[in-house]
Symmetry: C2
Subunit: 352 residues, 2 copies
């Protein structure tokens, strides 16, 4: 089969690799119908994260089960499933508590020995615990096939669940004023998550016009294009000098975290999901202490959130699919990375 | 009247100062019956916090109302009251939410223009919102006077409420495994607060034997005298390699925060109340991110906690009074600072 590999910074290839096969009784093999490129894939693409040359890449996918190991009971060949961006065993203490990202036997797609999501098929460990069924009617080649809905479900693999995690970390509750730092796909999904959780006012920080339009569609009531001190001043002005109850940091840089902390209302929280790339330098504990601002977040246990979010996606309560603004096939994956890296694309959908 | 002043590092004096008087209609004047010295007073004592020479000092007290301004309705002369370590107006947005430490008109005892708690009497702004009545029967010169109980109530001024805030920040809940870094009076009160909130296992980190004894009395199930890497290893061993659900950081140094983060269980939280003196350097955001460990705490809004904690103190459910292990009168205040600074006293009670 064909799958995406990364060999060096800016060197993304699609190559012939061995077909995935059942290796353990709990495995399933899934034919990938939808995958996509994540902002976090760009850290490796730009050389800011070291990778073994030839590594598989991609951690968001949904597709059709093709084969299952002897112990798999929850899914069978022909069924459609969506996967979270880490696999998990479903039985350890952490999985029992919903923190699937800390699973004692979990792993990340593309880790050595595993398949990546940006390919034709993938072996899924702990299929019973990892995969979540979605309606077969969504398949694009069926009578009721709804490609847009399938795209929306794909966001539960990562961005939408990650935005939801950020909103929970920030303590979004009905009536809250929320600020979202970062207009990438996760930041936009955090806007949507905040809206879904009942936020009354949602201030999106970002200067990219097309993204601001998506933010408004997702529920943003205000868009602040300023950055740094100016952004802080504008948010303070919008909030009677108090700041936002709940602030979401969805970038991971020093500036984004600094802004997030400074626009948080005393007693509030910063929910962060941006993979830390300098953001730790901005943690001003004295400011946090004086204002009782909590910092809470991290790698999102999206597997836990899929059962809660999926029904809202299927019935149209939320539609995260507008985060995809470019679609490629496997031959176009390298160009997709390029487009996301130079910010001409927000998030690239892959139809293998 | 006489009150404690600080003139320079290690230069604590008790001097004649003007008698406090009602300055605004919301003021009350309180005769101090009990005060004490806080670990945070030592930052000024040691010269690690700049102070105006001659400043008043002391922020924990209880006593008898002597006089009230024309607008004060909740207390009257002759009644006993306990005060939190900041005053607050009780009506601003933050007070309405219980975050009295962020009150728009609040202040800290000893701030320029205000009295300190370590004196014979004190002017209390916003008396209605700031003071909390306690039973007159507690007065030591009454038939039922109970000096120990009065000492216990005094801890609600700061240490006991601060320990409670730390426990809430750490997310202590029934059945939780809790670790407390720091065996000062706040750390010990945090042990008691964690026990009160239903913690099943409480691991106290500290090497001072007398303090360990208080920790055990307060509910600690394990005492870990090791520090740094060794302490982390021992706590991991005690918790099947997982760490504690709820970790309380009650020191404020880089080492204490580093230890706190490293012994927190994935998905857990560090509740911190140690005034940051280097602890911000230990905030390893990548560790927090990977393990979803929240950091939540700050200056404790103890005024909000007094109504909840006071009944438990009065009925004996909790007795924080063992944190006091030395008692002085005003003439002995300087020796009390010395004893706390060289750690021969845990916490010094002042009976003016």
């Amino acid at each position: 089969m064909r799958a995406t590999t990364i060999h060096a910074p800016y060197d993304i290839r699609v190559e012939e690799v061995p077909d995935p096969r059942i290796q353990r009784p709990g495995d399933a093999v899934v034919r990938v119908m939808r995958s996509c490129i994540c902002g976090s894939d760009l850290w490796a693409y730009r050389g800011e994260k070291a990778v073994e040359p030839g590594s598989r890449i991609g951690h968001e996918f949904l597709g059709m089960v093709m084969e299952t190991g002897s112990e798999v009971t929850s899914v069978k060949p022909g069924q459609l499933v969506v996967a979270p961006f880490v696999w998990s065993d479903g039985v350890c203490d952490y999985c029992a508590e919903g923190l699937t990202t800390s699973c004692e036997h979990g792993g990340f797609w593309g880790d050595p020995g595993s398949d990546g999501g940006q390919g034709e098929a993938i072996r899924v460990p702990f299929a019973d615990a990892t995969l979540v069924r979605i309606p077969e009617e969504l398949a694009p080649d069926t009578h009721d096939g709804d490609s847009r809905l399938l795209d929306a479900v794909l966001t539960l693999s990562d961005v939408m669940g990650t935005g939801h995690h950020a909103a929970l970390g920030a303590g979004v509750r009905p009536g809250a004023t929320v600020a979202v730092v970062g207009d990438g796909a996760v930041g936009l999904c955090a806007v949507l998550a905040a809206k879904r959780l009942g936020a009354e006012r949602i201030i999106a920080l970002g200067r990219h016009e097309a993204r601001a339009a998506v933010a408004r569609k997702f529920g943003a009531t205000d868009v602040v294009p300023e950055r740094g001190d100016d952004a802080v001043a504008v948010v303070q002005e919008l909030t009677r000098g108090q700041g936002a109850h709940a602030v979401i940091e969805a970038v991971g840089t020093e500036q984004s975290m600094s802004t997030a902390l400074r626009i948080a209302r005393p007693g509030g929280a910063v929910g962060y999901v941006g993979v830390p790339h300098g953001s730790g330098n901005a943690l001003d504990l004295r400011l946090m202490f004086d204002r009782n601002i909590a910092v809470r977040g991290g790698v999102a246990p999206v597997r836990t959130y899929i059962p809660e979010l999926l029904p809202d996606v299927l019935d149209g309560t939320i539609d995260p699919s507008p985060v995809f603004d470019m679609t490629v096939d496997l031959d176009g994956v390298a160009s997709g990375y390029g487009a996301m890296a130079d910010r001409t694309a927000l998030k690239v959908l892959i139809k293998p």
